[in-house]
């Protein structure tokens, strides 16, 4: 971890009490924070040179009923990468937008809304970005079953079961 | 009698032109170490397109294609093929070149009439390229006309008994050949028909018989351009010798086009107005000074 990243981490550690910082890689730090501190941390990091929001994505923890929003920031000065992540409730997922800090977030948030159903206050442009005429629950949620959807929407080719051929393959006479 | 000659000229243009295009494709294939299609492939392509059920975009689309084919056929009848001359003293160089423009304008109008933006971009490029290669060509031709004191192609052809213009005016012949490449629309100068950028330019909306008629027009226009070059610069003796020279010039053009990549459109105009134009004026200066070998 480079020296400048150390200062930033110390600053955040002093300012925010209940935040867990782990160093996941050579120049990479992961910060788990509560929902209310995320915006503060992000703005500090932005001023400290982490100007590039390289990714904003969402992870579906279905067992403990939570979504995890992950912000990956990258700094061109010292090549360091900081991952800020927070947990939001899965039933009615709602979070505040970072569109004002990074304009690109507008599209990330739109995609997350489309594929996970997370609402972002302040970003009203929630039109579908990638899917056309989608009529089911957001597809990347773990409780969505793609095979069943595919069978419902896209009829398949019926293959007759050729028992003899299968037996021969099983016995290893033909290589199928 | 004249009708018979016109028919002979048109059928030569048709049969000989299409076979030469097939041979050209075979030569390009061999340059790329490929086997290449049979020599009669272009006949099959032509008749196949004519049998399909085409799609049209209104009367101006049809009228443009007809005007293009009619214009180029009319130009072909005025071009002397060796000693086969349909209209002996009416084949004026300016008449042939500007009657050729009827075909070009007809095609341009028809293709833009289809309403496809690719076609308009292609036609704009084609007209710009025409501005590029037409100027040096006309300057060299006016030098030839001034030297021989006549603008009839057959008269110039017969006056080359003692030596081809290729050797009398070598610089002019080179410039004319470079402009010929531009006219043919072969590879280094096929920006208007660039398949990768503008989906084969003006031909984007051509289906079925329109594509066939325009392939026919393309064959006739190639035939007109090369036979003009052969008549003015290579003497073009009797009919068979003329066809032999025609084939040689065509093969050279195909070889060059098999190798060179495509120019960008402003590079085409800049190139034509730098090198060939200055050479053309040099050649005209030689003619004025009377230094004709």
């Amino acid at each position: 971890m480079t020296s400048s990243m150390n200062e930033v981490i110390e600053k955040i550690r002093r300012q925010f009490k209940d935040v867990s910082i782990t160093e996941t890689d050579e120049r990479e730090v992961k910060i788990d924070a509560l929902q209310e501190n995320v915006l503060g941390i992000l703005s500090i990091l932005k001023n400290e040179g982490f100007s590039h929001l390289s990714l904003l994505t969402c992870v579906d923890w279905i067992e403990n009923k939570e979504f995890e929003l992950v912000y990956i920031l990258f700094s061109w000065k010292d090549g360091g990468k900081i991952i800020v992540s927070t947990r939001i409730d899965r039933e009615n997922p709602k979070f505040v937008t970072v569109k004002h800090m990074w304009p690109v977030a507008r599209f990330y948030e739109r995609e997350i809304h489309e594929f996970f159903g997370v609402e972002f206050e302040g970003n009203d442009d929630m039109k579908p970005l990638i899917l056309e005429l989608w009529d089911d629950i957001p597809p990347l949620r773990k409780d969505f079953d793609p095979l069943e959807y595919s069978r419902k929407k896209f009829p398949d080719r019926e293959y007759k079961k050729d028992v003899l051929q299968e037996a021969r393959i099983f016995r290893g006479e033909t290589n199928g | 009698m004249v009708a018979l000659k016109v028919l002979a000229v048109l059928s030569t243009g048709f049969f000989f032109g299409l076979t030469l295009e097939g041979i050209g494709r075979k030569v390009t294939a061999r340059v790329q170490r490929r086997y290449g299609p049979p020599w009669y492939q272009n006949f099959i392509d032509l008749f196949k397109t004519l049998t399909k059920h085409p799609i049209t975009h209104g009367w101006i689309f049809d009228f443009g294609v007809l005007m293009a084919l009619g214009g180029v056929m009319a130009t072909l009848t005025f071009v002397p093929l060796g000693n086969l001359v349909a209209f002996p003293n009416l084949d004026n160089i300016f008449v042939i070149l500007y009657l050729f423009a009827v075909g070009a304008l007809g095609m341009a109008m028809g293709m833009v009439g289809s309403g496809n933006p690719n076609a308009s971009v292609g036609v704009a490029r084609a007209l710009t390229q025409m501005l590029g290669y037409e100027l040096p060509y006309l300057v060299v031709l006016s030098g030839v006309m001034f030297h021989y004191k006549t603008s009839s192609v057959s008269a110039i052809m017969n006056a080359q008994g003692d030596g081809w213009n290729l050797f009398k005016m070598p610089v002019g012949a080179i410039v004319a050949f470079i402009s010929l490449l531009g006219m043919l629309g072969k590879k280094p100068f096929d920006t208007p028909i660039a398949p990768a950028e503008i989906a084969s330019g003006p031909m984007v909306e051509l289906s079925g018989k329109y594509m066939g008629l325009l392939m026919l027009m393309h064959t006739f226009s190639i035939f007109v351009e090369i036979s003009l070059f052969v008549d003015i610069f290579l003497g073009g003796g009797n009919y068979l010798v003329f066809l032999l020279k025609f084939t040689i010039v065509w093969i050279m053009a195909v070889l060059i086009s098999a190798i060179l990549p495509r120019f960008r459109i402003e590079q085409v105009v800049k190139f034509y107005w730098k090198v060939p134009l200055s050479l053309a004026f040099l050649q005209v200066f030689f003619v004025l000074m009377g230094w004709v070998f």
Binding site: - | M109, V139, S142
Partner: protein, 611 residues
């Protein structure tokens, strides 16, 4: 001849009164008067001398129609009458001051007729001023910028007119006569070369200004662009030809061939200066026309280029070149009138002249499209129409005389004309139909009649140029130039010959063969305009898929920083304005005593110098 002029003069007053009742009655009256006058011109013989006025002692002005004048008069009145057939329908919707429009229209044609029929320089100048004044007052009736255009138009053409006036005084002071023929004799025996150069140039200056040649061409873009639509047809089709008439006079009537030793290729040095102007205006007109986005300004620049052709044709002064120049006068008059009338019809329906705001109008206005198409085929000089014959003659003359640089520039002009005539064709008529103009209707019938008449005229003279060539031969005999040989439809020149009728029949044969092939094979399926191949995407907004803005952007980029003469002349005008203001502030005091002081001061100067 002067009774015709009087008919036109009083006709203009009558049409003013009639238009007060109802606008188009005046225009219909105009049309019938002009029809009568053109018929009478066709009827009048050549060479009859009639007195006009003689209040200056020792001089009486005379009207005598020469072959040259008659040729130009017939061409001019052909255009004026056809356009006057176009006006009645157009005038209702378009003009605030319709009555004065009709009045000035007839007044201008009276000026034109008088100028063409005048036998001496002073009467010519009088009618010239009437014509300029009348057209000056019509121009500001157009768009909002047309007032500025009218000012520029009048300033530039007055430069030419005053130089012409100065030439009149010079010749009067030297030869005490003003008749063209007598001045020609005088000039022949004139010892001092400088005087001959001066007279020819001063007379030619009026032609250069009026036909928009190189140094004085800046008024063309603004005036054509903003004048009322039908008037720009007359302005470009006919008024520019008055400039060509004066150039023909300064070259043919004052026989520059006999006055000056030939410099190169049998053409004297004076003509070379005019040819240089013509060549520059061809290059300038062509390359500026390719850039324009306003269709009327585009054709205005093409008029600059075509005036260049006319002066080059006339200045070669050999049998083929001079005939080519005169024939091109007719061709450009008819072609420009056709194109501007079709533009007037388009503006009458759509209301805008910007090319990239329109598109696909062919599907709603097919007849206007056909007129425009034949117009540009003739303007670009392509065989079946008459446009090609004149350009062919000019090429033959230039190549035979060995003037290669001028020939190269004319080639640039002719191939460049394919480019700029195609821009409005693709931008306005073809391509995608704009949603705004979905319900545009075809132009009214009378407009179509006048347009189709010009189309038939061009095609007729394209195939049978005999009638026009006969007139040109008479003019050439009168000016002592060896006439052009032609018999039937074969035009012979020392360099080569061709037959317009065979070219037309061969084109027809080719077209019929193509038609047979077309009907031999399966019937096509009609698809509407938005069903295009656009790489798999659907076409909902046709406006996005119309390629018209920056049509030749890739060439325009090569000469974006081109020198602009309009800015140059504007700089001059600002310079003079500043001087004017300076003088104004120093000398002008509101008080009367200052006036008295300056008047006495000037009087003293005059008496002291003993003028």
């Amino acid at each position: 001849m002067n009774d015709l002029i009087l008919v036109l003069m009083f006709g203009s007053l009558a049409s003013y009164a009639l238009s007060k009742i109802k606008k188009n009655i005046g225009s219909w009256f105009n049309f019938f008067v002009l029809l009568y006058v053109s018929y009478m011109i066709y009827k009048t013989g050549v060479g009859t001398e009639e007195k006009f006025f003689s209040f200056i002692p020792g001089f009486e002005s005379v009207l005598s129609l020469t072959h040259l004048g008659k040729f130009f008069a017939l061409v001019s009145f052909l255009i004026i009458t056809t356009v006057s057939l176009f006006i009645p329908v157009w005038i209702e919707k378009k003009i605030k001051m319709a009555a004065s429009f009709n009045l000035l229209y007839l007044l201008m044609s009276a000026g034109i007729l008088g100028a063409l029929a005048s036998g001496d320089m002073l009467t010519f100048y009088v009618f010239w001023e009437i014509m300029v004044l009348a057209s000056l007052l019509i121009v500001p009736m157009g768009k909002e910028e047309s007032r500025k255009a009218a000012v520029i138009y009048v300033v530039l053409s007055s430069i030419g007119s005053y130089m012409y006036l100065y030439a009149t005084f010079l010749t009067w002071e030297r030869y005490h006569t003003l008749k063209f023929s007598e001045i020609a004799q005088g000039l022949l025996s004139e010892p001092s070369n400088g005087f001959k150069w001066l007279v020819v140039f001063l007379v030619a200056a009026a032609g250069i200004a009026k036909s928009g040649l190189f140094p004085l061409h800046t008024w063309l873009r603004i005036t054509h662009g903003n004048a009322p639509d039908t008037f720009s047809a007359v302005l470009s089709g006919q008024l520019i030809k008055m400039g060509a008439y004066i150039l023909a006079v300064s070259l043919g009537v004052f026989p520059s061939l006999k006055m000056f030793p030939p410099l190169y290729g049998g053409v004297p040095a004076v003509n070379y200066v005019l040819i240089a102007f013509g060549a520059v205006s061809i290059v300038l007109g062509t390359f500026m026309a390719i850039r324009q986005n306003d269709m009327k300004m585009l054709i205005a620049y093409s008029s600059v280029a075509n005036s260049g052709y006319i002066i080059i044709g006339l200045a070669t002064l050999d049998s083929v070149g001079f005939a080519g120049g005169l024939f091109h006068v007719f061709n450009h008059a008819v072609a420009a009138a056709m194109i501007f009338l079709s533009f007037a019809a388009v503006v009458y329906r759509t209301g805008t002249t910007k090319i990239d705001e329109m598109g696909g109008l062919i599907h709603r206005m097919p007849w206007t499209f056909i007129t425009y198409l034949v117009g540009i085929i003739s303007l670009a000089g392509i065989p079946p129409t008459s446009g090609f014959i004149s350009k062919w003659m000019i090429f033959q003359a230039l190549v035979r005389k060995g003037m290669f640089l001028t020939a190269a520039i004319t080639f640039v002009g002719s191939v460049g004309s394919f480019l700029y005539v195609f821009r409005p064709l693709a931008g306005v008529f073809l391509g995608q139909l704009r949603s705004k103009y979905k319900d545009v209707k075809e132009a009214p019938t009378f407009m179509l009649i006048s347009m189709i008449f010009l189309v038939l005229l061009t095609l007729y003279f394209g195939v049978f140029p005999g009638g026009l060539l006969g007139g040109i031969v008479k003019v050439q005999k009168e000016l002592g130039i060896p006439p052009i040989q032609f018999e039937g439809t074969v035009i012979k020149t020392p360099l080569g010959q061709w037959d317009t009728f065979t070219v037309f029949t061969m084109f027809a044969v080719g077209f019929i063969i193509a038609l047979i092939l077309y009907f031999l094979f399966p019937k096509p399926r009609k698809v509407d305009l938005t069903d295009q191949y656009t790489a798999g995407e659907y076409l909902y907004t046709p406006d996005l898929y119309h390629y018209a803005t920056g049509f030749y952007r890739f060439i325009e980029r090569l000469y974006d920083r081109h020198p602009s003469f309009e800015k140059l002349y504007e700089m001059f005008s600002r310079f003079f304005k500043d001087i004017g203001e300076g003088v104004d502030t120093w000398f002008y005091r509101a008080s009367s005593s200052a006036y008295m002081f300056w008047i006495t001061f000037v009087m003293l100067i005059i008496f002291w110098v003993r003028w």
